[in-house]
Symmetry: C2
Subunit: 351 residues, 2 copies
DNA sequence: CTTGCGCATGTTATCGTTAACAGGCCGTCG
DNA sequence: CGACGGCCTGTTAACGATAACATGCGCAAG
């Protein structure tokens, strides 16, 4: 008990006793058992962050924002990776409830209603990051997918593109739906018809981006621009375009949601919307800890952060030639075009 | 007690009671309190992974390897990010001891002897990843830095390079020292003198890579090739080269330790040594859990995994002109060279 | 002189689980 | 017929910290 008082600086202790206890602690290398404390106090000072893909620097950056903030406020963080699987997510949620984390920051895998409900039944506060859910009474932090998509697509329309394809993630994931909505709004506002055959739903990964691009290249009318709703999708698309002998931006413009961290790309040339990922993580952790401290209002709060469009060299006006389907079997015609223009991924001429 | 027996499937319970308990559990949404279990059993079934830079995909991949393996064997993982700071590291170690994690997987920030000693004093097993330490009785898993560096440098020597600069991390970090050792051995074996002024120690990040390259370009004799011992350093170097108007590989070859995950680079063109990062994480987790299970031998084990060299377009024979110092104040001469050759980061001509 | 308060330390009970032990019932075997 | 072992359930104590309460001392106010 006396030791407890010394450690927590609570109650009365004589300076002499305090000193002796401290000496003993140092001598024995005593460290308080956090488990016992947590069991007694019913608080673990631990948050959990569940993301769908820890390989994605977007989520890594969110994780840093969460961890830095949580740590500064005395919380530890458990990271969980669901690989976009709702089953894995629910499994993690069960473990986290048993481990009595104080709250969960969640990037929902798809619907994820079950996970959130389960957490709430057990009295655990939830903050939803990046994506939104139809569940009431949950704090949410994300960037504006609809507006970001809208500005990218408007940019491409402004360059003269009339046939713009979207490559996106699962239809059930809110970011995917919102970005398609922004795309549609930009088309409508420009008086263009938004054709469903130009909207490709897939997965948020490289393989899917590749696969969707191959499909796209067989679609009529052939798009002159691609809007990829995630960086990995863009990588896959670029690989497919390169294999097809198409150059960017001459044969195909491409714009992407999500930028890479500075210094990551050897040569940043993708027109992109950059999300404030670190800030999303930071704000989410703050909302959570505020709520745990009882300083939060009863109703749920939603923070939508603005994202920033960065125009680079991957978007340009379309060729003046009439759009025509790309012939996979006759690449020679394309090859000539390649040789007269800039290849994919080329840098600016250094000054 | 009866409930405990049902949950753990231990002892005798009548089928009837078991069923009734299960119904009650489902009705109440009961979840066992892991804290109490852990307090009682003195095992948390939790590992910690301390890395120096979670932004680096190399460490992210290690983290995935650790988490997947640990999870499959019933362990949870706490991730900690030290930003290469020994102070942060020690702070984390203290927290982890208090939280009574079962073991720590550590990428040591530099010396890190204190952290490891503290952990060992408290009876926590440690597995050191990626880097090695002078501490006895610690399991270690890493890839072969010396051999990887040696093969990269030998490759460049084979291309005809005589002046090869190294840009590396802190001298006290073992990977940095080992890669420089491999570099020196390759030079010596080729009968070349290894000149100290071509060895630049800095930090494992983009800014340092940039800064070291600027310094390098003012060094005589001017190197015709760069060996960057980490991907971020290479990124910084490439930025500096681009700003200086130098092309890769014509004006400067560059090879790098650490590859990026497949699909990450729009156009993989860097000659690199790829480390088996996922495997490192996996093996480390396995060693740890084996030791926790008591199945490990008393003496420390060290696993050194081979790494693989991938030759790409960033390395080529040096120009035939005599090496001469690069004039920052007269870029015009260089500019001409740029226009007649491939710019930095350019792709192959698509077929 | 007594009461009461501030200070310092010690005791008890509790958080939720489970190892260890206790006890009761039934069937079988010597 | 009694003893013993298998089956089932219940009680006690312990993991380590700490809130709440108890105790004891010294000093000042009434």
């Amino acid at each position: 008990m006396t030791v407890s008082r010394v450690i927590n600086d609570s109650g009365y202790i004589s300076p002499d006793t305090r000193a002796r206890v401290k000496v003993a602690i140092a001598e024995l290398g005593y460290m308080p058992n956090a488990l016992a404390r947590q069991l007694r106090s019913q608080r673990t000072k631990t948050l959990a962050l569940i993301v769908t893909d820890i390989s994605n620097p977007f989520f890594t950056t969110i994780a840093r924002g969460v961890e830095d903030t949580a740590k500064a406020l005395g919380y530890a963080v458990m990271f969980c990776n669901t690989y976009e699987s709702e089953v894995e997510e629910l499994e993690y949620v069960r473990v986290l409830i048993q481990r009595r984390v104080d709250g969960v920051l969640l990037v929902p895998a798809a619907g994820s209603v079950d996970s959130i409900q389960l957490l709430q039944e057990h009295g655990l506060p939830v903050v939803v990051l990046d994506r939104h859910v139809r569940v009431e009474q949950v704090d949410q932090v994300r960037s504006d997918s609809e507006a970001g998509a809208h500005s990218l697509v408007r940019h491409m329309i402004g360059l003269g593109h009339r046939y713009i394809a979207v490559l996106t993630g699962p239809q059930v994931v809110s970011t995917s739906a919102d970005r398609v909505a922004g795309y549609r709004r930009a088309l409508t506002e420009a008086g263009l018809t938004s054709a469903d055959e130009q909207v490709h739903f897939g997965e948020y990964n490289e393989a899917s981006g590749y696969e969707m691009t191959v499909r796209l290249l067989a679609t009529l009318p052939l798009a002159t621009a691609i809007f990829a709703t995630n960086n990995f999708i863009a990588f896959g698309a670029i690989r497919a375009l390169r294999e097809a002998g198409l150059t960017i931006p001459e044969d195909m413009s491409i714009a992407v949601f999500d930028d890479l961290p500075k210094g990551w790309m050897l040569d940043p040339f993708l027109t992109a919307v950059a999300q404030p990922a670190y800030e999303i993580g930071k704000r989410a952790a703050e909302l959570m800890i505020e709520r745990l401290a009882g300083d939060a209002p009863a109703e749920a709060r939603t923070i939508v952060l603005p994202s920033e469009m960065i125009t680079r060299r991957s978007t340009a006006p379309p060729r003046q030639v009439a759009a025509m389907p790309f012939q996979r079997t006759a690449p020679s015609r394309r090859k000539a075009a390649v040789l007269t223009s800039q290849p994919v991924g080329q840098t600016e001429n250094p000054a």
